[in-house]
Point group: C2
Chain length 482, copies 2
């Protein structure tokens, strides 16, 4: 058993050291602006440093190889560990959160969900605000890193679709992964920087610009004010639209563009499908509001674009309470919640490629209804896709709805009102952030839910972030017998 | 084109003659009890007779063979035609319904959904009440007949699972189908008779017993009073539980039992799974109510059993407004709505066998995550099932949720309030009957919805009844190019 966990301890130790480094940012900033909470970050950094050193000491090994069982364990455990280290400073501040609240807030950060248990965000100390944004930023980086390196090798939800010929998971491919990781970090930094600069030029304070840049690119959605993005001008909203879309696209395309310098890398089926869906949803919502309700065109377009992109990229910023825009917009936003962005992006949700594969599977079935003897195969990005990958992408929606049903049911058993339970489970599993209803709607927060509900929703956010099966396999006896 | 439709006209003509015969029942009964509405049925019977004769004249042919394209056309067109003939007397009475209302009511009857646009059911003339029950009864018979004869030959939603070796669709198998149809009719009549007798002995009036027997066995849910089953004693509720369960089981088992006289035919994977799910849901709901809320055991068990069985068999009777039983029961009933009964029964919903196949598919995937090179196959009732049948059963849930999303969205665009739109779409597609919320909840009705919403929901009920793809294929260009 120790042999199984040793390399996992090692990686978790390294992650703890990275978190230690990140904790220094709010500490230093807090110290410089005279925010007394900098001490909470100092303490957390020390704990995290010791914890990381201990794990590395336990886990050190001469050769470093990972079996696929260890990859599953590693994925789940590293997110758990990031969540708990992320929760530390929130429990050590002058106005400490309880354990369940702090873990919920940290999980919501690191999974880039953006649901919050804190009201009065604008009265929070700047160091805490910065920490929440940093958690989302590093969570976004982590999920892309995981999607381009580990997930294509695991048989979960059709992710093997993204296993390129040039990639395999063995010791000899480590240098290539190193290079890819460097490029990814560079691109992610550059995009964040560009986003922050645009925000600043468009009128945000430098502090707001930094925070919102981090939570935009990571499609996280934490804001620095209870009004979310509602207090900013239209230019800022359009900047957010652009960078949320960038965050919702497959980052592999940016990595390829960096090495090939060829715009043709963006001719990707998933990216094109994503843009088409977003454009379609914005168009019908704007049309409905302008034609039927007589709203002014430009203002409506801005609000529609911002809120649709915010929901479909699973960012979860709000610029207005769209539940007041009429029944059609509630229906539309409800459906957009499930779709999500592209695989290999910072977005959550069920992901565009699964809808594309499922649609193609059904179209193929439809064809075979009429021509039973025809032999066809489903192609993605021009390449034929093995049946089992298609089937596992299609089966993801079934699994998603089963997990959603179970989460909803347990929440109602804990006494949570049905609509809050149902939309809370959806928003956690899709990593969007806000739900529907008075309690957890765009204008509410998760503070009043019972503690057990917060723990359950924390688990749901991690399940959603890790494509469900990656975590669920750890609960099956066959995994541990294996 | 005429050649394509000719045999379909012929079958629809025969169905119109059968409907003519059925129309005579409320006519004669109405005449005997002095109900002036008997004239509406006389007029409808004459129209239906002429219509049927015309169709048979158009469609007559020396040889009778059906291609698979014709089977698809036949399925959809026969249900459309039954709906329109069913709507006739509702528009010819002294207090006529409008076209959209009458069609909605007839579709809701013939698809055994049981949603109604009529309030004040108890003030309806007896002939109309009898007609609503008859529509459900014949709709239930029709859906079983279709499931055991036509659907296993169509490639929709994994229904080919039920294609037995001994069955194929060619002229030489017609005598066998004839025999099966006779047996089915006999069994269906016997079960209805037994149900009616039990109801009568337990205290219903003969008229109520006949009507409720027809809408229980067909899991239709039309009642003769606005209070649905709420006004009857506990014995009657338990009788209803038993016969709704009988209606939700695969009728093929009864047909086999009739010929083999061997109880082992009931050792069917779908039947056992269905009973297990129902027992589990009743147990947790009763436990929750008794332990947490301190309700009395027997009364709670009766109410839980009746309402759970009513929803999961997609009957839709209510004995109490279960939306007042707390959040957990709302969540539980919401989830039960989707499950539905067994394939080859009168129940709607997604069907138990699809959940079983999807679960087995996921368990198999889970196993392969750990043992990638293992070769396994999914078995059902002991027999290995081809991958494409499993995949199409799994894909059904994706299709279901897409159709649900589209229906909900169009309803909201028509101005229907979101929860009404969402649960109305669910209840129509699953053929359950009542939705959630003030408008269409267990205590409400569909009268106040806009006309276009009624048409859309009528279409949704037919889509749900015919397993979606059977109808949707008619909308694809490839079908007509075929
Ligand atoms: K989010
Ligand atoms: K029903």
């Amino acid at each position: 058993m120790l042999r199984l966990f040793r390399p996992i301890f090692f990686v978790c130790g390294v992650l703890a050291l990275i978190m230690t480094g990140l904790l220094l940012a709010p500490m230093i900033y807090g110290y410089l602006v005279g925010d007394p909470e900098y001490l909470a970050f100092l303490k957390s950094a020390i704990i995290s440093l010791l914890f990381g050193a201990l794990l590395i000491f336990w886990g050190r090994e001469r050769r470093f190889r990972l079996t696929s069982r260890q990859l599953y364990l590693l994925t789940s455990m590293s997110w758990l560990q990031l969540s708990f280290v992320g929760a530390l400073p929130l429990m050590l501040t002058g106005h400490p959160l309880t354990l369940s609240e702090a873990v919920f807030e940290a999980v919501s950060g690191i999974t880039t969900t953006g649901s919050t248990v804190i009201s009065g965000i604008n009265t929070l100390p700047p160091s805490i605000l910065l920490w929440r944004s940093l958690l989302q930023w590093v969570g976004g980086l982590g999920v892309i890193g995981m999607a381009v390196t580990i997930l294509p090798f695991l048989r979960v939800g059709g992710m093997r679709l993204f296993q390129t010929e040039s990639s395999d998971w063995s010791e000899k491919s480590l240098p290539r992964f190193h290079e890819m990781a460097h490029r990814l970090l560079f691109i992610y930094l550059m995009i964040t920087l560009a986003c922050g600069l645009c925000y600043w030029v468009a009128g945000m304070t430098p502090f707001d610009a930094v925070n919102h840049a981090m939570t935009t690119v990571s499609t996280g959605g934490y804001a620095t004010d209870d009004a979310s993005m509602g207090r900013f001008n239209d230019t800022i909203l359009w900047i957010a639209v652009v960078f949320m879309m960038i965050g919702g696209m497959p980052f592999m395309l940016y990595i390829r563009f960096l090495s090939q310098r060829n715009w043709s890398v963006f001719a990707d089926q998933q990216a094109k499908g994503f843009i088409a869906i977003v454009a379609f949803l914005i168009a019908i919502l704007t049309l409905e509001q302008v034609v039927l309700d007589g709203e002014p065109l430009m203002r409506t377009l801005t609000q529609a674009a911002f809120n649709i992109v915010s929901i479909i990229t699973t960012t979860g910023y709000a610029s207005a309470d769209y539940t007041l825009w009429g029944e059609f917009s509630i229906g539309l936003f409800f459906i957009a919640t499930f779709i999500g962005g592209c695989s290999g992006s910072t977005s959550g949700g069920m992901k565009v490629f699964r809808f594309q594969l499922s649609y193609q599977f059904l179209a193929d079935q439809m064809h075979k209804l009429v021509h039973p003897r025809s032999i066809t195969s489903i192609r993605y990005n021009g390449k034929p896709i093995p049946d089992d990958i298609v089937a596992s992408a299609v089966a993801f929606s079934f699994l998603f709805f089963i997990v959603l049903a179970a989460t909803t049911l347990i929440l109602t058993a804990l006494g949570v009102e049905f609509i809050t339970a149902f939309t809370g489970a959806i928003t956690a599993l899709t990593n969007v952030g806000p739900g529907l209803g008075d309690t957890i709607g765009p204008a509410g927060n998760f503070h009043t839910l019972p503690d057990t509900a917060k723990w359950l929703l924390s688990l749901a956010m991690i399940l959603g972030r890790l494509e469900l099966l990656t975590v669920m396999v750890l609960l099956s006896p066959v995994f541990w017998r294996g």
